[in-house]
Symmetry: C2
Subunit: 504 residues, 2 copies
């Protein structure tokens, strides 16, 4: 990467410190999730808080802000890379620049207490324990939104934090476009003759030893082209991916004794994130162009590998003898279509993270609609349990038995992360649109049927990964697919797949 | 800990930042040794170098230095703890305060190249590859010594970095006091009738599966009172202990297929370090009183557990049925005395880290004498291989076949760590003196014979561990044993032990 502008050069030097400290913090957080002895939590929190403070100070550095302001004026004559550097710095710095430091600290404190209250409320199935904290977090995020500025809807300011340029209006248009079709598709699948046998198989208590799960997932990671010399795989209660360096992209997974599908799909999901990070132009390392474009694009790629590759019947067909050689007694009775239906079982449940590919987006839409209404004062926090139950009945045909399974299920609100969810659903839409373009270059199902995943990784490297965060989400989608985000590709993809799979 | 002096309070606030960043750096270094993917070394070095720079800047902060100077004048009226805070800050800061930053950076650069040259020289058994780098490192350390100031001997300035207040003169007196007895003892042991059978057993190629070694060492760590909720044990090529927080003291070990003794003794050694750190007064955490007193006292405790406990015939007698239940085929033929002689085998070798308890100190004395002569220009770097061979013959009766096994064996000089070695040998002497005092309170051999290690840990907690670095090494030895360091206790201990063991 060639940068001639001396102001941009200074910005890069300053950002490098932010990058190095952020990765240092990521090492501490990885270690916290994977290794930390139980008594060490407090000491570790001191170290992490100190790093966070140093990073905040770097963002608030006056000389840096002046230079960034200067660069923002110059940037129309600058190269694409220089412009992206300025855009990304302005985007990443926005929170620090606009929200008063006392408010940031206040929110951290409240969120910390709210998290403990949420845990207790969920355990005791008592929403009232969490409610006062939730109210306080909403109040603070309303203040934060006002500092971040917005046109009409305060919720837009929160959405934009996680997906640049996303607004509630834009999200509503795409979600409204897919919601009725998703609800219809779920009902059709549940009525199909193949539905009940797959569902019954999943409910059986069959054990899949951890050691075989581990061997299986490492072989799949290799097949996907994950570079084990530039990362590792460990175990943690909640699977995640973290970039400790361009050459140190680590994933974690979890093993569930009686369900081989969890480690299989979560590993492909996290490896999808990791391939993105491992594939970025090395010149962008330790600059504002490092890392993926956005949460939405990252989820597009992780969910692409999880669902569009890992749960593709053509790939399951290739995998069937492998699965059966690892778990002969457990799986020998199933043929490749039956196994595909087991892996792709569509089953309305209350729990988002266990949701299948069809109902998943409905879980997100439900949360999006509630958040949007909350921040526009159309519903009150105390009404959330009721609203949650009503929407569950409407979208899934079922109601959670209690609030722990309902409004209290996700941790996001307890962190005060309002506006995060829609990125997940957008990921599905981006992914389906990328897939459609990819199929013009690659005989997708045929390659999957032979177990060839490297051409797919190669295509993603070339068209998406290597760019890092050079483009905005909208620019990237346009560049890769030739048009802006279009939700119909996702609906078409799902309808095609499930019509064949369940012989609808 | 009560601190009223506002200047000291400021010093504590400032030091806390140094402590938090140093522990953060320790997490990165632990991860480097235990987990790092091969390609990630460069990126990790950027992160670590940046932290080192931030830490250096904190030491060089002008306001902090002024306050420390002020506190140094006040401290005679201050409490013991306040005085120790000022003493420790002056000691730890000495290097940063006195050595010009350019010289620190220059040495880091030279050491980095020297390390690579040393590796190559050792592989190719060619001292000449390392020689120019070694000369440069000696030149730089001579300059550093002159900045650190010394009375007569420039080597004193280097020794003091690793063991406060140690001088070559003091070291020479104690080493001269033990050297002839050690050489005599080795010869007596080698002539004993029991020597050759133990030696023959060790030379057999018997395999000890890793899994059993792991179970065994964890059970011993529990017996020693190591708190697994405040630390962990992992595997690394060179075993070490690191304190990531008062409640996160981690050790590593290594497994050698054909020698169960390596993981056994190295685990007790590292756990000895860890018990020290876990046992420090929690109020000292994140203050200049955290951590052990010095390298010498730390080695005293680690070598105490390794040798005076782990290789004590009374404890081996307790352990014999345990060893045999883990390795029945390998060890059932040995009785407890034979096993004791195998674990304690005294065998002159060229390699310090593999050395037994008797020859170990001779390895250190050899290095001490060479370093002292080097820094007083009594020998030239080009003569080192010859000097090494002559001293090996004198102390061990054998000569290394080549320089890789001789002058090139240790990594310390390649890092430019001149003056480090004597702390190891001092540790042996401190340890024997502590043991003599402990035996007045505890029926030592009787407890070991029953496998009771907790009373020993309790005694160390009470008399040594809890003090952290409140006392200087000399003060601590006086406080614990009632007299200053006396090398005769070590010689008496060794002579007693080996006379019985080998029936001399």
């Amino acid at each position: 990467m060639k940068v001639n502008n001396p102001v941009i050069k200074d910005l890069l030097r300053h950002y490098r410190k932010i990058s190095l400290l952020s990765k240092t913090k990521a090492v501490l957080d990885w270690d916290l999730n994977v290794n930390l002895p139980t008594k060490a939590a407090e000491g570790r929190s001191h170290q992490t808080a100190h790093l966070a403070e140093l990073i905040t100070d770097l963002w608030l550095d006056e000389k840096f802000r002046n230079q960034l302001d200067k660069a923002s004026l110059l940037s129309s004559k600058a190269s694409k890379e220089e412009q992206a550097i300025v855009r990304n710095l302005n985007f990443a710095g926005k929170y620090y620049f606009n929200v008063p430091k006392e408010l940031i600290v206040e929110k951290e404190k409240v969120a910390s207490a709210a998290f403990m209250a949420w845990k207790e409320a969920k355990e005791k199935n008592d929403f009232s324990i969490f409610l006062p904290h939730l109210k306080e977090l909403i109040r603070l995020d309303q203040m934060i939104a006002s500092h971040l500025k917005f046109d009409k809807n305060p919720y837009d300011a929160l959405l934009d934090q996680f997906e640049p340029e996303l607004t509630a209006e834009k999200a509503k248009i795409v979600f409204d476009a897919i919601k009725p079709d998703l609800i219809k598709l779920v009902k059709r699948i549940q009525k199909s003759k193949n539905y009940s046998s797959s569902s019954a198989f999943v409910d059986e208590q069959i054990l899949y030893p951890k050691q075989e799960q581990e061997l299986l997932l490492k072989s799949i990671m290799r097949r996907m082209g994950y570079d084990f010399a530039a990362g590792r795989v460990d175990v943690s209660p909640h699977p995640f991916t973290t970039t400790l360096d361009r050459h140190d992209v680590r994933i974690t997974t979890m093993y569930i004794d009686n369900d081989f599908r969890t480690s299989y799909t979560s590993t492909m999901h996290e490896t999808g994130h990791a391939l993105y990070e491992q594939g970025i132009n090395p010149e962008y390392s330790e600059t504002p162009l490092e890392g993926g474009v956005s949460f939405g694009i990252h989820e597009a790629l992780s969910r692409f590998w999880e669902n569009m590759v890992g749960k593709n019947p053509a790939f399951i067909s290739f995998m069937t003898p492998l699965f059966q050689s690892f778990y002969p007694e457990q799986l020998n009775a199933l043929n490749e279509w039956e196994l595909s239906r087991v892996v792709n079982l569509v089953k309305p449940s209350f729990v988002r993270i266990e949701a299948d590919e069809v109902t998943y987006s409905l879980h997100i839409i439900l949360r999006f609609e509630i958040e949007n209404a909350l921040f526009n004062n159309e519903i009150k926090p105390e009404d959330l349990p009721k609203v949650w139950r009503e929407k569950s009945r409407e979208y899934f045909g079922i109601e959670p038995k209690n609030d722990s399974e309902g409004v209290l299920q996700d941790v996001h609100w307890a962190y005060g992360a309002f506006g995060y969810f829609p990125a997940y659903a957008l990921g599905n839409l981006y992914g389906a649109q990328f897939l459609r373009t990819m199929k013009k270059d690659i005989d997708f199902d045929a390659e999957l049927n032979k177990g060839n995943l490297l051409p797919i990784k190669g295509w993603l490297d070339q068209n998406i990964h290597r760019h890092g965060s050079l483009y905005s989400p909208d620019e990237l989608v346009k560049l890769v697919t030739g048009e802006k985000l279009n939700p119909k590709y996702f609906i078409n993809y799902l309808t095609d797949k499930y019509t064949k799979l369940y012989e609808l």
